[in-house]
């Protein structure tokens, strides 16, 4: 099990801040896109690319890599920004998000950008594909792992639960589902639109190993992920409680930021806040 030193943790927190900055800049350039979920998953994507996953940005099709699937494709800005910040492509390319001819499609397309594992956007489909990959790894006795990032809202899709059943049937302990439990979706609170609670109990009833954590605390997330990796005979789910819009004060907790980008003024405020956060992290011990 890897341990997270305070120095490493600080590096990752700074990196997460960079990822958030990339999200704001790309969304501003695109004039459309999804702010809240992208921002709230910055810490988790940073932890995945910066600490947890076996991967090589120079060899995106390395057969031994861990597979990271983004099921809720609409939060592509966080994945793109994390990929750029971890060396998959130049950070400047983030400014092409959603533009004609860009590799950074509005929803991620595997065939357009090396390093993506699936084409996603239609919700509820990521875990099903991840289940296929994890089963494929088992059939071939490969030791790489599959991580699937999902939104809480997409747990309203029937296909997701077909995958939950199937992964348990085949005892896919090489499969971890990470849920962005931010309680928001386009039309409002998940609990108003379609109640999902008791959320964790649903997975327990389907024979999954369940972990919960603060999804905006890199240290906590890494700690539960390490425990999840050690589970034998069962797939694991991490219910990561996040604050939508995390890192930008006027977006935090406001569902109306699910599907819209900041304008120039708002982006300037957001970037100043992130700069202040950077200073705070650097000053911390």
């Amino acid at each position: 099990m890897q341990t997270l030193t305070p120095e490493r943790r600080k590096e990752l927190e700074l990196k997460a801040n960079d990822v958030r900055e990339g999200i704001i800049r790309s969304l501003l350039a695109a004039c459309s896109g999804h702010s809240a979920g992208s921002l709230d998953m910055a810490d988790i994507f940073t932890a995945l690319y910066g600490f947890i996953m076996r991967h090589d940005p120079q060899q995106p099709d390395w057969p031994e890599r861990d597979r990271l699937l983004l099921s809720c494709g609409h939060i592509a800005p966080v994945r793109y920004s994390a990929m750029a910040n971890f060396g998959y492509f130049p950070v400047e390319e983030l400014l092409t998000l959603r533009k004609f001819g860009s590799r950074l499609q509005g929803h991620p397309e595997r065939l357009k950008l090396p390093g993506l594992e699936t084409t996603s956007g239609p919700l509820g489909e990521g875990l099903a594909q991840g289940t296929g990959m994890a089963l494929g790894a088992k059939l071939d006795h490969d030791d790489w792992r599959v991580y699937v990032v999902t939104s809480d809202g997409e747990h309203e899709c029937g296909l997701h639960w077909e995958a939950v059943m199937t992964a348990a049937k085949f005892k896919l302990d090489n499969l971890t589902c990470i849920v962005d439990r931010n309680f928001i979706q386009i039309d409002g609170s998940t609990e108003d639109v379609m109640p999902l609670e008791p959320f964790a109990d649903k997975y327990r009833a389907f024979n999954w190993e369940v972990f919960e954590c603060d999804g905006n605390d890199i240290g906590q997330f890494i700690e539960v992920m390490e425990r999840a990796k050690a589970v034998k005979g069962k797939p694991q789910v991490i219910v990561a409680n996040t604050v939508p819009g995390k890192g930008v004060s006027f977006m935090e907790g406001d569902y109306t930021w699910h599907g819209k980008p900041p304008n120039k003024e708002q982006a300037d405020v957001a970037l100043r806040e992130l700069e202040a956060t950077r200073e705070r992290i650097l000053a911390s011990v």
Partner: protein, 338 residues
């Protein structure tokens, strides 16, 4: 016509059986050919998997399950999962065949087919069983007659509807070798076997099963046999010499052969066990409107749903039997002569 007369040169070059001799004809369901082909494909390549959604016997995956248990995956009644999970397995180098009734896959799973199989270009193969009204007693809910339309409209997709069980086996093997998303459609009821092991088969290459220059009958699936019988009767009854083309690959369609048949004959009848809207006939009409406009008559289900009944009774009721094909050929022939 007596079976002592030899078949024409087109039929002989395709090594067809003498379909005019009812006593010599064998009948088997096209799905049997899928089952046989799948077992062979699984022997040839251990990356070939069969994923089943609780229909092992009726899709004929049960033989594969016995022959290759380590390559067989059962996931229960979950057709969207069937496609999505196969996408994941294909992404790591497997060649998954997924089977259900065509009504449920691709019927229920269409968006997953579009996004995960086609847009993402994965090497997943769909076997759509129980297509057409000839499913029979199960009724309209289980009779897929829109599937060709919804599959051929998707970019990157290959769509194949073989004419009998022998050809279905060949198609299964050929499509396993062909990289990319594939839809193979077959039927439930037994149907006459007109091809032999010696009959060539190539994805994307239409086959002339009967020579003729008065009208071209372009058919697919189990109705190819009906088209051949109709053509022989037309020759005898009307002196109309019909060409019969087995247009088994609807996408990518062999446009050159279809255009050639239209130019040679000047009139076309399309024959399929599918809605007349959007299916093989529409594909032919699209090609001909652009490249060789001639009168076209469409045999298929006329914008209706199926119902319970005996398979042959239903084919007749919905206007796809030999009498209907002959009438359509006469109409097309008359239209070309003005």
């Amino acid at each position: 016509m007596s079976s002592t007369e030899t078949l024409d040169h087109a039929a002989r070059s395709m090594a067809l059986v003498d379909y005019r001799d009812a006593g010599a004809l064998k009948s088997l369901p096209t799905r049997n050919g899928f089952g046989e082909g799948l077992i062979e494909a699984g022997t040839l390549n251990k990356d070939v998997l069969a994923i089943c959604a609780d229909l092992a016997e009726s899709t004929r995956m049960d033989g594969f399950k016995k022959a290759h248990p380590a390559q067989y995956i059962e996931i229960g009644v979950a057709e969207q999962m069937l496609v999505a999970m196969a996408g994941g397995l294909a992404a790591v180098g497997k060649i998954p065949w997924i089977a259900s009734y065509a009504m449920f896959n691709p019927g229920r799973s269409w968006e997953q087919v579009r996004t995960i199989m086609a847009l993402n270009e994965t090497n997943v193969k769909i076997a759509g069983a129980h297509a057409g009204v000839s499913v029979g007693p199960d009724g309209a809910t289980h009779q897929a007659i829109e599937d060709i339309a919804i599959m051929r409209v998707i970019p990157h997709m290959t769509v194949v509807v073989p004419c009998d069980s022998v050809q279905t086996k060949k198609a299964t093997l050929a499509l396993t070798e062909r990289f990319g998303p594939v839809y193979l459609r077959f039927a439930r009821d037994k149907s006459p076997i007109v091809t032999t092991d010696a009959t060539p088969f190539e994805v994307g290459k239409a086959q002339t099963f009967r020579a003729g220059n008065d009208v071209a009958i372009v058919a697919c699936g189990i109705l190819v046999y009906y088209a051949l019988i109709a053509a022989d009767e037309l020759a005898r009854e009307d002196g109309i010499d019909a060409r019969v083309v087995n247009n088994h690959t609807i996408k990518p369609m062999d446009e050159a052969s279809i255009v050639d048949a239209a130019r040679a004959c000047g009139a076309v009848v399309t024959v399929e066990e599918h809605q007349v809207h959007g299916g093989m006939g529409s594909a032919v009409a699209e090609a001909l409107a652009a490249k060789a406009p001639v009168p076209v008559e469409f045999i298929g289900v006329q914008d209706l749903f199926g119902q319970s009944g005996d398979p042959i009774e239903l084919i007749e009721y919905y206007g796809m039997g030999t009498a209907a094909i002959k009438d359509a050929a006469r109409r097309a022939y008359a239209r070309k002569r003005g």
